[in-house]
Amino acid sequence: MTVVGNKYTVIGFRVTRAGPLALLQDAGRFGVRRLGVTQGGPADLHGWAWANRLAGNAWGTPALEVTFGGLRLVAERDLTVAVAGADLGATLEGEPLALWRPVRIREGQTLAFATPVNGLRAYLAVAGGFRAEPVLGSVSCVVREGLGGFDTRGGKLAEGDRLAVGEGSGASVAERGMPETAEIDYRQPARLALLPGAQVGEFTGQSLYRAFNAAWRVDDRADRMGVRLTGPRLLCRLASMISEGIGLGAVQVPPDGQPIALLNDRQTIGGYPRLGALTPLAASRLAQCLPSQEVHLVAASREHALAEHRHFLASVGQG
């Protein structure tokens, strides 16, 4: 037994296959963006929050973000887990694993993710939470910055890693499922709510009409920093601006006219004009889209977006 962050931990899993990208994520790293340190945290806040909720964990508990699949873990002890977000063909001992509900795993059993069936990022929460030493107040793993994760140095999971979990808690998680209406078919064209920003009036000609009426395609240049969308070229009077702080979901438009929606690992400042910002839930939804998938930008009101966000947080027991 070891002490991490003043909490007793035990080894919960051993990694027997790392897959392309599995990262530890808590709610994110806050209060340090003025040092140039990015936000981090789960790209799909919705899936991450539900995984924790279903595992009986409090908001902010570290969970694994599994992108694309491939990860294989062996339980080192009896555990309760929940997988939410994408369906990456997860199996337990070779049998399909039930998603969006708590599942008991016994010591020695193998939990494996295959490839995307529905969505891109799955969240694995374990009752009691994964445990690592925080860096700048967070365990969120940002590979580019070399911060966070189990090794505190921004390392993604690797074969042979032994993953610490909080001991004991969550052993008596009540059977609680999720309202079926909240489960999402990520394969459908996504309607992404966007709050128009200050430069929206600088887009010329048909550009604004096109921005909100075109069927955009998710480009293969997409990662935790941002997702490029391809479609009609948007023209803006401003080529570039003096760099300024950029929020989650900001949709910037570089001179090539193809928007980029900025996600959790974005740089803290930037200088391209912006259409506006996706709502946190819209950014979450975009993070589940695969390349070539169709998305639409939908202008939203702040009041409506706030009500939706509050409803989501209440549904996962926050706020």
Partner: protein, 242 residues
């Protein structure tokens, strides 16, 4: 506040569900710093626990808040109130003064010759000019602890490289346009490299992590190789042609 031509400034702009961007100025100027510092401090006091993050930059302050603790319209109203009687904070904005020991040499500053050619100055004059100016930190970004500093002497104004390098060595000292910076980590980069500093720019083991903060004053102090290495500087040369 009144600032001449800034007719419609300051402005509070939408930056998402949980953020407002306060635009104070429309151009880069050292005189912006006392205002930005004052507003940053006032936000810290006025938002309390509802404050999530503050990102000051050249002309703006991004204020990120928790919309459950403070409704967006209430946050906007609070910002408007703070702006009404905002006064520049000259003391706080004076910032810390840092001297960054820097070894200017072609082996670690492979663009010295390019900058000399572009500016018509000798390599020695380029070094004298870069080290002879006190800079202010206008913004942090791009990477943890990466400080955008200015303003560079107009004689040293050189565009970015046409093709950015894939890997700029840590602690490289660089210029682009009217700005200068030192790389706190190995990253891609398109700035012109003049040398390398032995300073620890972003130290995970030090409280606060980033040596430089917005508003700080920075001076590059030329040192020879022996001094540079004795201070812990890494003299490993850049690979040829990279």
């Amino acid at each position: 506040m009144s600032r001449g031509a800034a007719m419609s400034l300051p402005r509070i702009e939408s930056a998402g569900l949980d953020a407002w961007l306060v635009r104070l100025f429309d151009r880069i100027d050292e005189a912006n710093l006392p205002w930005l510092t004052a507003l940053t401090r006032r936000c810290e006091a006025a938002f309390g626990e509802a404050l999530v993050d503050l990102v000051p930059s050249y002309t703006t302050l991004l204020v990120v808040f928790d919309p459950l603790r403070l409704a967006p319209q209430a946050a906007r109203h609070r910002l408007a109130q703070l702006l009404q009687d905002l006064a520049p904070d000259e003391n706080a904005a004076a910032g810390e003064i840092h001297e960054l020991p820097t070894w200017y040499d072609a082996s670690v500053g492979p663009d010295l010759a390019r900058v000399a050619e572009h500016t018509g100055l000798s390599v020695e004059a380029v070094i004298d000019c870069h080290a002879g100016t006190d800079y202010r930190v206008f913004a942090l970004g791009f990477a943890p602890g990466f400080a955008f500093m200015g303003l560079l002497d107009a004689r040293l104004e050189v565009p970015r490289l046409e093709t950015p390098r894939q890997r700029v060595p840590v602690n490289s000292v660089a210029i682009a346009g009217r700005q200068t910076a030192a790389y706190p980590a190995v990253t891609p980069g398109g700035w012109n490299l003049l040398g390398r500093t032995s300073a620890r720019l972003f130290d995970r083991d030090r409280d606060g992590f980033s040596l430089l903060r917005v508003g700080d004053r920075v001076r590059f102090v030329p040192v020879d190789r022996r001094t540079f290495e004795s201070q812990g500087g890494d003299a490993t040369p850049m690979e040829a042609g990279r």
